[in-house]
């Protein structure tokens, strides 16, 4: 049947809905035709398809005025063709739908399972998607969050900056923040703020620009960082403290060594103090005793003198008795004399002297003693020694005492060596041994030294500490008063000199006496 041109008379169109099945459509149209025929509307034209979907079909039909007759089967054919086309389109659409659904499902599974907040906002910055992670982090339920501005999630202080970034992103189409991780502070539902990291991505759909933000709550990480930096600081502090401790340890060791040294010095000083106290009391005693003893001695002596004139001196025993008495008086007097020496007012009669001359003189005084005891005397007296300010008599007394001690120590004979010289003190010279020396003299000082050496029995180490004690003597009773060295030391100290007595390696004793040269 040839197709007739149809005049389109739209104002007389009708919309017909039908379920998709062509059969139903044709039946429906047929019924319509019948109805229309009845109403003098003989023909219907299918003008177009308004909408089609799985739900059905909306057809736009136009009754045809006039005598045109469209046969039902032709109509049916048209409908069928149109429906087929529709179906094809539908199929295509449902494929896209599937893809879309598949991708939606993928997105959904991602967002559902993610720990981070994945939030999508539209072009106005309104939240259009909210995942469980977001709920966990921010506290808002999905229903509450949807429609909120994204900025509400940002702590106020940072909002301006955030908005600025978003604005820039919108206007320039790209953003400095895109792809980068921003650190901001977020605002939770309960009003608390917390640090988060955010990365943004943007995508377009039709004309709309959507932004997806992935937000990670970094509170814990920040805390961990803080902890770490704290521990790093602690470690640094420990390292520093350790270094300090090492230093302190070295200092302490040094201090300990110093302490030990001064302890030793203190002990020595204590011993000297005890000695000084002893000497002081002895001194006071001595003066009193001397006087009280000398007077009776004087009486005895004078009495003996007198008696000796009236006794039979021819009788050997009488003579001997008198001699013994006189000797005893002399001995007693010697002791008293020594005691007095010891306590004598410390006034020295100072004159300018040559030490070698004094030593020589002292040797003269005892000149017979060495030969009596088979002792050889070696003299090594320095010439032109610097002159010293000395009390001649007392210094002579000192050397007489030292010589006698030496000779007494060499009961079987031996050698007495006497030396005088001038020298400058060095650390190595050995003269600085002994505390007395280091107290009185300095390294580099010039001193005059006198040495008295013997080859006798030496001094027992156990006695060494006490040799300068008053009344200390190793000589048998009656042979020595024990005052010699005590007095000697006193005299030397009054001259600001030092005396050192020690055993020689070879044998015997060396006495070293030192005097300052510059006074």
């Amino acid at each position: 049947m040839p197709e007739k041109p149809l005049s389109r008379d739209l104002h007389r169109s009708i919309v017909v809905y039908s379920a998709a099945s062509p059969l139903v459509i044709s039946v429906t149209v047929a019924m319509l035709a019948i109805v229309l025929l009845y109403h003098d509307l003989a023909m219907l034209e299918v003008i177009g398809l308004i909408a089609a979907g799985t739900f059905g079909v909306f057809l736009l039909l136009r009754p045809l005025a006039g005598k045109l007759i469209v046969r039902a089967d032709e109509l049916e054919q048209q409908v069928r063709e149109k429906t087929a086309a529709l179906q094809a389109e539908l199929n295509g659409r449902s494929r896209t739908d599937e893809d879309l659904r598949a991708s939606e499902m993928r997105f959904h599974s991602l967002t559902q399972s993610a720990n981070d907040a994945i939030i999508t906002a539209d072009g106005q910055g309104t939240i259009v998607s909210w995942n469980p992670g977001a709920r966990r982090i921010f506290g808002w339920e999905e229903s509450e969050a949807m429609g909120k501005p994204l900025t509400e999630l940002v702590a106020e202080r940072f909002r301006k900056a955030h908005l600025r970034d978003l604005e820039r992103m919108r206007t320039t189409g790209e953003a400095q923040v895109l792809g980068k991780t921003l650190e901001l502070r977020g605002l939770r539902r309960d009003g608390s703020s917390f640090p988060f990291e955010m990365s943004l991505s943007t995508w377009n759909i039709r004309d709309e620009q959507l932004t997806t933000a992935i937000i990670r709550d970094v509170t814990e990480r920040k805390q961990a960082e803080k902890e770490l930096s704290r521990w790093v600081k602690v470690e640094e502090q420990l390292a520093r403290a350790h270094a300090e401790l090492k230093e302190r340890e070295a200092e302490l060791r040094q201090a300990l060594a110093d302490l030990r040294e001064s302890h030793e010095a203190l002990e020595e000083a204590q011993l000297e103090l005890i000695q000084a106290v002893k000497m002081e009391s002895v001194g006071q005693l001595a003066a009193g005793v001397a006087h009280e003893v000398k007077n009776p001695l004087a009486i005895i002596l004078v009495g003996i003198s007198y008696l000796s004139h009236h006794l039979p001196l021819a009788d050997r025993n009488v003579a001997m008795a008198l001699d013994d008495i006189r000797a005893a008086i002399r001995r007693a007097d010697a002791v008293i004399g020594g005691l007095l020496n010891y306590s004598a007012k410390r006034r020295l009669e100072i004159t300018v002297e040559d030490l070698s001359a004094i030593v020589d003189q002292a040797l003269l005084l005892i000149k017979h003693q060495p030969t009596q005891h088979h002792v050889t005397v070696l003299k090594e007296l320095g010439q032109d020694l610097p002159l010293l300010l000395l009390d001649k008599t007392k210094i002579e007394q000192v050397f007489v005492n030292l010589f006698m001690n030496a000779i007494d120590a060499m009961a079987e004979g031996g050698t007495l060596t006497v030396r005088t010289y001038v020298t400058t003190l060095t650390r190595a010279s050995g003269l600085m041994r002994g505390r007395a020396a280091s107290d009185h003299f300095r390294i580099g000082e010039t001193v005059v030294v006198a040495e008295v050496e013997d080859t006798g029995c030496g001094i027992d180490e156990a006695h060494m500490a006490r040799i300068f004690d008053p009344f200390f003597t190793t000589k048998p009773t009656g042979k020595g008063t024990g005052l010699g060295l005590a007095v000697t030391k006193t005299i030397i100290e009054l001259h600001q000199g030092t005396i050192d007595i020690r055993n020689r390696e070879e044998s015997g004793v060396r006495v070293t006496v030192m005097f300052k040269t510059d006074r």
Binding site: L297, I299, H309, D333
Partner: protein, 126 residues
């Protein structure tokens, strides 16, 4: 007959002065007066007019130094030589011949009679 030298001994120890006097007088060359107190020394000197005074230094009451000062101030006595006897100085320092210390002569106790006579002979003109 040679005149006996007059010796005044001033010492607070009676045993000593008694014995010394005895010893000196036995020699026949001396006339000795003893005095045991410093206070009476000056008077004794005035009365006895000695040729030499042996003077102990350490005495209770007036000591030898004071007595010596008094004698020096007395015109009639100041020419008399004084020798101090002292226990305060040791024999070693003074020696057997006596010694001048600070312008004064000393003999150290215990003195023997011999020492005294020697000293007198040396220092007192006959």
């Amino acid at each position: 007959m040679t005149t006996k030298r007059r010796i005044l001994i001033v010492d607070d120890e009676p045993s000593f002065t008694r014995l010394l006097k005895l010893s000196l007088q036995t020699t026949g060359a001396y006339e000795v007066r003893e005095e045991n107190s410093g206070e009476r020394a000056l008077q004794a000197a005035r009365e006895f007019k000695p040729d030499l005074i042996l003077l102990d230094v350490i005495m209770p009451g007036k000591d030898g130094g004071e007595v010596a000062a008094e004698i020096a101030n007395d015109d009639s006595l100041k020419t008399i030589p004084i020798v101090f006897l002292t226990a305060a100085v040791s024999k070693k320092e003074v020696g057997g011949e006596g010694r001048v210390i600070g312008g004064r002569s000393f003999l150290a106790k215990p003195v023997s009679v011999a020492e005294v006579t020697r000293y007198i002979e040396k220092n007192v003109s006959a």
